[in-house]
Amino acid sequence: MDRRKLLTLTVAGTGCAIAGAVGVPVLINMMAPAFAESDIEDWRPVGPLTDFPVGAMQNREVVISDQKEHHKLSRRSLYVWRRSDQEFVVYSRACSDLGCPIVWDQGSEWFFCPCHGGIFDKNGERRAGPPQRGLWKYSNRIQNGVLEINVRSVPPMA
């Protein structure tokens, strides 16, 4: 170890120490949202059962968040189908391909996506276009005569 080598190591060492001491915490801090808890349940009311005739597909607006930071986006429109007396299917309006807002068409009883020709049937199954899978469904339950959905039961971008 001659003097020159020692000095070179000193330059490299102090440099790496500073970079690590600042860089690692910054990286961890930046990544923080990725480690958010994802298995949370958040049940929110859609409406009283009397609002939903058996067999009908309805477009409803639901408040999915009370957090001020979500502003206007805390209200979301979705599709509710009362398949039978006690059985509901609640679809996210996000097309399972890229998330464009699908629309229910009463005539064909299908969902049309305005973006790339995705089409889904009443059961949420893909019938045409690029989607690889069916529509996202919210898990739902009936509490005291009110239909509720778990807003965290679809993927975070749906």
Binding site: M31, A34, E69, S108, H116, G117, A128, P155, M157
Partner: protein, 476 residues
């Protein structure tokens, strides 16, 4: 007075000396270069557009508010209530779109020429990084408007991220900054758009320019006598720049060519801004209204491509396309070892670029038609002027609309284009075959089965109408 020098000159000379402008002048402006052509001006044009984007960005940043509560209102305010706000936004918008076009031109030109061949591999790699930064910022830019188009654009990107194996959910949380779109989402996009990308772009662009000055640009004689190695190229380049006829000084001879190119493009941006103004705003960001989200025009080709891909490919395409494009562009200089430069000796490159350009233009055109989209409508499909319908067929005409046949099947070019236009069918079915088809279409056909929903009278009426409709002219 012996030292009778003009004080003004002194001051100028002093300033030049203290600021050490001499070397910059000599090394950059007064350097000798091989003669250039007008179409070498794309790089200078990109620099100009980056400058306009930064300056207009400064102005927009002074008024823009990166919060979901106020973002949209602040953009409306800039556009409609602030002096010259529409102009600043318009210039920013059209410069961004133009930058995507020119960066593609720049990229294609250097693939055609072999601009990445030795000794310019470093210049190329840095350019590729900048290309992706430009594309990323041209996408994030329109999410900041916080209108409907913005939140759906974000959603599209998130849906692509969600497909990354193992970490799809985490990646969405990371980009979104939370479990759903909100304030953190906008903050992050704003930070990336105005801090991360511009700083990286400026740094990389400076280095790119330094390398361009250091290694020069691909010249005509290089194309005629392809140098095999970096050393050969450097010798040739040195010879050329000091040559009486082949060389020139950069300022003003080379610069004027680039300047004129840049000025023409600038005039186009200015003209578009004055004629069309900034991008009109859609309704404020929401997930409640019925909406037809659309990407900006410089991404239309991608949208059409997605629509026409075989469905089993889409997931692979979403992740694979950007990845493969990146790998291809980064690796090209290390794979292509041919010495040939210039169009005439690079048939593979020419073929590739011609196909790419034609593909981009064709797909963009197809996107403007968007014939793959079915949509509900309550309007009776128009009939040809001389059409005679019996009572049954008239009832069928109503059913044709009521059951949304028209969403997918056009008549004479009016209506959806998902299924075949019934006035230009290649195979004609008999009444019985039609009835069975509408009741229960074959397995491979994407069409609802109406067997349980139509009474037999309704079915007969509908078939009657379809049989009549098939005799209509193909365009009316």
């Amino acid at each position: 007075m012996k030292n009778d020098e003009k004080p003004k000159e002194n001051a100028v000379h002093a300033a030049i000396d203290r600021l050490a402008l001499g070397p910059i002048w000599r090394k950059f402006f007064a350097r000798r270069v091989p003669k250039a052509r007008w179409y070498y001006g794309d790089g200078a044009t990109l620099l100009l557009l980056l400058g306009i984007l930064i300056i207009t960005g400064f102005a927009l940043g002074l008024m823009y508010s990166a919060s979901p509560d106020t973002a949209y209102a602040s953009v409306v305010n800039i556009t409609h209530h602030q002096l010259m706000g529409w102009f600043v936004r318009g210039m920013h918008y059209w410069s961004a779109g133009m930058m995507v076009i020119i960066v593609l031109y720049h990229l294609f030109r250097h693939i055609l020429l072999g601009g990445y061949l030795p000794p310019r591999e470093g210049t190329w790699v840095i350019g590729v990084l900048m290309f992706f930064l430009i594309i990323i910022n041209s996408y994030i830019g329109y999410t900041l408007r916080w209108d409907e188009r913005s939140v759906y654009a974000i959603r599209v990107a998130l849906n692509i991220f969600h497909r990354v194996p193992w970490i799809g959910d985490e990646l969405v949380y990371f980009v979104q900054g939370g479990w759903t779109q909100g304030s953190p989402t906008l903050s992050r996009l704003y930070a990336v758009h105005v801090i991360f990308v511009p700083i990286l772009l400026l740094g990389l662009a400076s280095y790119h320019l330094y390398l361009v000055v250091f290694h020069g640009v691909t010249t005509i004689p290089e194309r005629l006598n392809p140098p095999e190695t970096a050393e050969e190229q450097k010798e040739l380049y040195d010879r050329l720049k000091h040559h009486e006829d082949e060389g020139e000084t950069f300022f003003p001879y080379t610069m004027v060519e680039s300047q004129i190119f840049a000025f023409v493009i600038f005039c186009v941006v200015l003209g578009l801004t004055l004629a069309l103004g900034p991008r009109e705003l859609m309704p404020e960001a929401n997930f409640t209204e019925t909406s037809f989200p659309s990407e900006e025009w410089w991404f239309h080709w991608y949208s059409a491509w997605v629509a026409y891909l075989p469905p089993w490919l889409t997931t692979w395409f979403y992740l694979g396309f950007p990845l493969l494009l990146f790998l291809f562009l980064i690796l090209v200089p290390f794979v292509d070892h041919g010495a040939n430069r210039g169009l005439r000796r690079r048939p593979l490159a020419v073929g590739m670029i011609v196909i790419t350009v034609l593909g981009l233009l064709t797909l963009t055109g197809l996107r403007l038609e968007s014939e793959w989209t079915a949509w509900p409508t309550k309007e009776l499909v128009p009939l040809p002027v001389q059409a005679q319908l019996g009572p049954d067929a008239q009832r069928g005409h109503q059913l044709f609309t009521e059951y949304s046949c028209i969403s997918c099947h056009a008549l004479g070019g009016n209506g959806g284009d998902v299924g075949p236009d019934l006035t230009s069918l290649k195979v004609r079915l008999s009444a019985d075959e039609l009835r069975d088809f509408i009741r229960q279409p074959p397995k491979h056909v994407a069409m609802p089965a109406y067997g349980e929903r139509l009474s037999s009278e309704e079915l007969n009426a509908l078939v009657d109408f379809v049989l009549v409709a098939q005799t209509f002219p193909q365009k009316y």
